[in-house]
Symmetry: D2
Subunit: 170 residues, 4 copies
């Protein structure tokens, strides 16, 4: 079995410097732990997690996957190794979730909120990095609806988020 866990890091284009740094650490720790990092392949949180993932000393190749909204592979940030230009615009957000064994939501604008909700629907473990204002923080520790008995897992640091992911994987 060659497959390694694929973890989506979900977040916005314009994170605070503190959140950018934490997401970079998050990407690195995920690859350190033997996971691959899935993002939307663009800037901000997506770039930070990609950059972090590609800086891991445990990198083994193909660890940073980017699913772009457009059809031009050159729009990916430079740390994306596997680029999937979908051409699906917003529907690509759904694929960021279907491509992941678990998701980590960082910060909290509408795009991230939709991805948390989709991950919940699809039965994927959802970890929320509670660092900034917004939906990841608001939903940390909550149930989105009653279809599942678990909750969105709160993590207050990259290290806690990775530990939560590893605990949630089968």
């Amino acid at each position: 079995m060659l497959r390694r866990p694929q973890i989506a890091v979900l977040g916005a284009h314009a994170p605070s410097p503190r959140l950018y740094a934490e997401c970079e650490l998050l990407g690195r720790l995920l690859v350190d732990a033997g996971c691959r990092v899935v993002t939307g392949g663009l800037a901000g949180v997506m770039e930070a997690a990609s950059k972090g993932g590609s800086s891991s000393t445990k990198r083994r190749g193909g660890d940073v996957i980017g699913l772009l909204p457009g059809t031009d592979a050159d729009e990916a940030n430079p740390w994306v190794e596997i680029v999937i230009p979908t051409g699906l615009s917003l529907a690509r957000n759904v694929l960021c979730v279907t491509s992941a064994d678990a998701v980590i939501a960082c910060c909290g604008r509408a795009g991230t909120l939709s991805e948390i909700a989709i991950a919940w629907q699809l039965g994927k473990p959802v970890i929320a990095l509670d660092l900034d204002e917004g939906w990841a923080s608001k939903l940390a520790g909550e149930a989105i609806d009653d279809r599942r008995s678990d909750r969105v897992v709160r993590a207050t640091s990259a290290a806690e988020a990775v530990a939560a992911v590893l605990a949630a994987l089968p």
Copy 2:
């Protein structure tokens, strides 16, 4: 100009009898007001709004549109006139929003939450029918994030929701 406003009615498979009845009224009032009704084409809220829309005395043809997750047109509820079997599974939810000039969210499970968030991202007017527990009620009157200066509009009845839609359309 032949196009009439297309309004998405978003909600779950298993509404309460009270919500089903209100969504049926909602569909009827939307078509009465000269709009078309867009839904996911299946059961529950989708069926109620479709049934209501098709019962309007102002019906002019093509008023009830259903965007299915699968590829089989026969999965549509019997009140869908225009059936778009997408085969996109969950990504079809995105199309329910892109196909609408405004959306009305009814009840509040994860699927509806994701659609509210996507509609917010796309700049579409969002009306929440505050009748049941769940996300439509929680988000009524709130801003999803700071990209827009407006808020999710609270409506406490089908009639209020239709009035809010008409006020929000250009």
Copy 3:
């Protein structure tokens, strides 16, 4: 049962004047015969069929459906009544086929070829209007592969194409 047959008219942005005129007639005859017309909603063959459909004296509302590659409804040609802005770019071509009970391929560039092939895969009746050079003409009367026992039906005029559609529908 409110649903009427939905027939996709597939073809390019820049048809010859003769083909444009035949596709306009095709749209009109389809609506005359009680069908709805599905197109990609833009210019050329799509516009001709939409315009023709909306000029039928048998029009009953919602007869012209356009599935756009982008998310902006205003990109539809002015004869589209039901506009579905998908945001899926090229993947919207697949939806033009899944939304149809049968397809009529006009002219013959790569986009139309892909749609003929997809319709064949999905088991939909395929009619080819053999008027111009290109794939519709080349494939008229042929089998795409051996999964089906029928063939792409050749039609040499709009009237023949509509007769073939009506014969092919269940």
Copy 4:
């Protein structure tokens, strides 16, 4: 720059034993040459190319990418390392093309024909492995339409196909 060329190997579920063997060799030679292999992730040609790619002694990780039509990662063949369960059913074929820097079409049923046509539309180099009956063989050496000045490149062996890919990449 971490990205390596991503080459889609397109073909059917039930190739002849000879074609299966050639596609396995094709996958291996692509990875030997420093490329990654993209397929639809299921059986037949997709499995052969995945298996071949994962057997290369030059494997560096993440070399075999599978884009599934469904949402269940476990449907991938066991040689897929990076699995993207799209849930898009047939529209996933479009993503097999958008994800590739060049495509190699093997055998010739309707699905492969649609992918050749989409690749042509998107301006991607198209190589046809002319081993079996069907569309890859028929289109080898041909132009799909006049939008491009090049042609579908004929290859009569895996080695020729890889040489053609390397010649076609920028």
